[in-house]
Assembly symmetry: none
Homo-oligomer: 202 residues x 4
DNA sequence: GATGAATGAGTTTTCATTCAT
DNA sequence: TATGAATGAAAACTCATTCAT
C-alpha cells in the first residue's frame, strides 16, 4: 500500500552505493570517477543516487567517515584486549601490517584519496584531523600507560612517538601504492617493533 | 643557427613555466589547476606552453622529476659531508625537519599531489619508485656503513629501517597538510632521533 | 458510494493544493517552483497531487482559471452596484488600486506569471484571452452606457478606451513588480480618473 | 601570425550570438531556450559562446541592456525633434504604435521575458528600473514643458501621467501577445491620443 | 614559432513524472 | 487511493587540446 520503506532498507541502499563507490574511487581516484561510473557500477539510477547523497563530494565524505570509524574501532578493540603496553603496541603492529598485507591495495588507495581531499577541503580536513587525532590519542595513552607502569623509559615523549608511529605506518602504506614497492612486511614489522622496543623499553 | 643558444633559451622558458606551475599545483592541486591558470600565472600563451610540454600531465611529470632530483641531491650532499653513520642520519633528520618546518606547506602539498598521481599513472609510478628507491638506498647504505663500522648493532635490518625512516618522514609531512596538525617539530625530531639511536646503536 | 461526498472532498483537496501553489508560484515563479516544493508546502504526497492534477502545467492552468474568475466576479459586483457610468468607472478604479495597494505584490507577480505562460501556451492563451475579453466587455459596456445616457461624448470609442484602461492598469501592476517602483497610488489613481473624466465626459 | 582578433571582430561575434538568442528567447522564452538551442541557432560551439558570455543569464542581461538602450535612444530622438509638448507626445505615440504594429510580436515577447526576469532577479530588476525610469523621465519632462509653456493645464500631475502612459503602452503590448488580441492600432492610438489631449490640454 | 579563439566531449546536478507496493 | 523511491532525459557549464593565422 505504500512504497515507504524501512530505515534498514534505506541503509542497505546507501551501503550498496558506498560499496560501488569504494571500488571505483580506489581504482580510478576521486576525480577520475564520474557519477556515471557510479551509476553503472552500482546499478542505481542517477536520481536514486542523488536521493541518497546530496552530491558526489557528500558521498565521498560519507565514505571517509565510514572508513575511519571502522579502522578506529578495530584498533581500539585490539588495544583494549591486551594487558601490557608493549603487547598493545605489538598487537597494533600485527593488525596494521596484516591489513596492509592482506586487504591488498584497495584500502591504501582509498586512504590516499582521502588524504588529498583533506588537504584541499576544509570540511574533509576537519574530519580527517579528528580521526587521526583519535587514533593518535589511542597510541599516546598506551605509551603513557607503559611509562607509568615502568615498562617504558620515563624520558620517552609519548605524544611525539605516537605521531611518529602513526606517520610511519601511513607512510609505508602510501609508499606501497605510490611507488609500487613490494615490501617484505614481516621484516618491516620486525624492524619497526624491535627498534621501538629497544628504543623505549627500560 | 646555434643550437646551444636555442637550447638554453628553451630550458629557461620551460623552467619559467614549471615555476609557475608549482605554485598553482601546490596551492590548488592537480585537477583544480587548469591550463588557463598556468597561462595566467606564467604569462605564456597556451600555444607556447603546448610548444614546451606535450600535455598537462607531461608538464606535471616533468615537475616531479625536477623536484625529486633536487631533494635527492640535497640529501646526498648532507650525507656525504659527514663521517660517522650516526652523524649522517642526524644531519638527514636536521635537513628534513628544517625543510618541513621552514618551506612551509607548499612542498608537502606538492608531494602529496605527486603521490596520488603516482598511484594512478604507471608512468609516474615508475618515476616515483625510482626516486624513492634512490633515497632509500642512500639511507640503507648509511645504516650498513654504521653496522660495518661497529656503530650500529649487527642485527639491524638496514633495508627495513631505511623504509621505515623514509615512511615516517613522508607520513609526518602528509599528516601536517592533511590533518592540519601543527607539530612541534623539535620534539618530534628529538623523539625520532633518540628512539632510533637507542634502538640501533651498540 | 455517494459521489457527492467524494466530489466535495475532491474539490476541497484540489483547493488546498491550489492554495499552496499560489504562494510558491508567486514567490518563486513557475519554473523555479518544483513539484517537490508543492509537496512540501501543501503537505500532500507526490502521488496525491498527480491524482488531482495531470501535470504541473495543468495545475497552473487551473490556478489561472480560478484567479481570473474571482477577479471578474469582484469587478462585476462593483460595477453592478453603481448607477451612473462615471461612478461605475470610478468604483472600478477604487477596487483595482486598492487591491494593488493592499494585497501587495503577490497577486501582481502571479499575474505576470500567467501572462508569460499565456504568451507561450496556446491553451493558456485561449483562456487568458477569454478572461481579458470578458473584463474588457464589462468596461466597454459601461462606457457605451455612459454614451447612451449622455454622460460621455458621442465620439468616444468605447472599445478602444476599454482596452487602454485595462492595459494601463495591468501595466502599472507589472511596472510595480518588475521595476520595483513604489508608486503613490492615490496620486496615480487621481491622475487617471481625472484625465479620463475630463477626456470623455461631456 | 596571430589569431588575436580585432575588437570589431569580437563585437561582431557577440552580436551574432545575441541575434540568435533574441530569436529563440522571444520564440520559446528564457527557460525553454537551452544553451544547446543557442549553439544550434547561432552556429557557434558551446565553448565559444561561453567565451563571449559568462552564463546564460549574463547573455540575457546583455540582451536586455541592448534592447532598452535602443528603445530609449529612438524615443529620445523623436522627442527632441519636435517643438511643442503635444507634438512630442503625439510623435511618441506614432513611434510606439508603429513598432508594435510592424515589428510584429518578437519585440513584445522579448519584453515580456525581460519583465518576468526582472521580477525575479534583483540584478535585472535594477537594470529594468533604471531603464523604465529613464523613459518615464523623458515623458514627464515633456509634460512639464507643456505645462510651463501653457499647452497643458496646471493641475496636471506630470509624474503620474507619465507613469500611466508608459503603463498603458506596456500593457497593450503585453495584452497583444498574451491574449492574442488583434488590436486595431489606429483606433487605439486615436483613442489614447484624443483622450489624453482633451484630458490635459487647456 | 607564437597566439588565443574555437572546439565538443564530458561533468555534475535537477526534476517532472511514473509505478510497485 | 495514497505513497515516495526510482527514473533518466536534459540542463548549464568546464577545460584540455587544436589549429588557422
Amino acid at each position: 500500500m505504500s512504497p515507504k520503506v524501512s530505515d534498514e532498507y534505506k541503509t542497505m541502499m546507501r551501503e550498496k552505493i558506498l560499496e560501488a563507490s569504494i571500488t571505483l574511487f580506489s581504482r580510478k581516484g576521486y576525480h577520475e570517477t564520474s557519477m556515471d561510473d557510479i551509476v553503472e557500477e552500482s546499478g542505481f539510477s542517477k536520481g536514486a543516487i542523488y536521493g541518497y547523497f546530496d552530491s558526489k563530494e557528500a558521498l565521498f565524505i560519507e565514505l571517509q567517515k565510514k572508513f575511519a570509524t571502522l579502522n578506529y574501532l578495530e584498533l581500539k578493540a585490539v588495544i583494549d584486549k591486551e594487558k601490557t603496553a608493549l603487547a598493545k603496541l605489538e598487537r597494533t603492529a600485527d593488525l596494521v601490517f596484516a591489513s596492509m598485507c592482506e586487504v591488498s591495495e584497495e584500502m591504501c588507495l582509498m586512504d590516499l584519496e582521502f588524504q588529498v581531499a583533506s588537504s584541499r577541503s576544509p570540511k574533509m580536513r576537519k574530519q580527517h584531523r579528528f580521526q587521526q587525532m583519535a587514533v593518535m590519542k589511542l597510541l599516546e595513552d598506551t605509551i603513557k600507560e607503559g611509562i607509568e607502569s615502568g615498562e617504558f623509559r620515563k624520558e620517552v615523549d609519548a605524544n611525539s612517538l605516537a605521531a611518529i608511529l602513526i606517520s610511519a605506518i601511513g607512510g609505508l602504506s602510501n609508499l606501497m601504492v605510490t611507488a609500487g614497492i613490494k615490501f617484505k612486511w614481516d621484516k618491516i614489522k620486525e624492524a619497526l617493533v624491535s627498534t621501538v622496543r629497544s628504543g623505549i623499553t627500560v
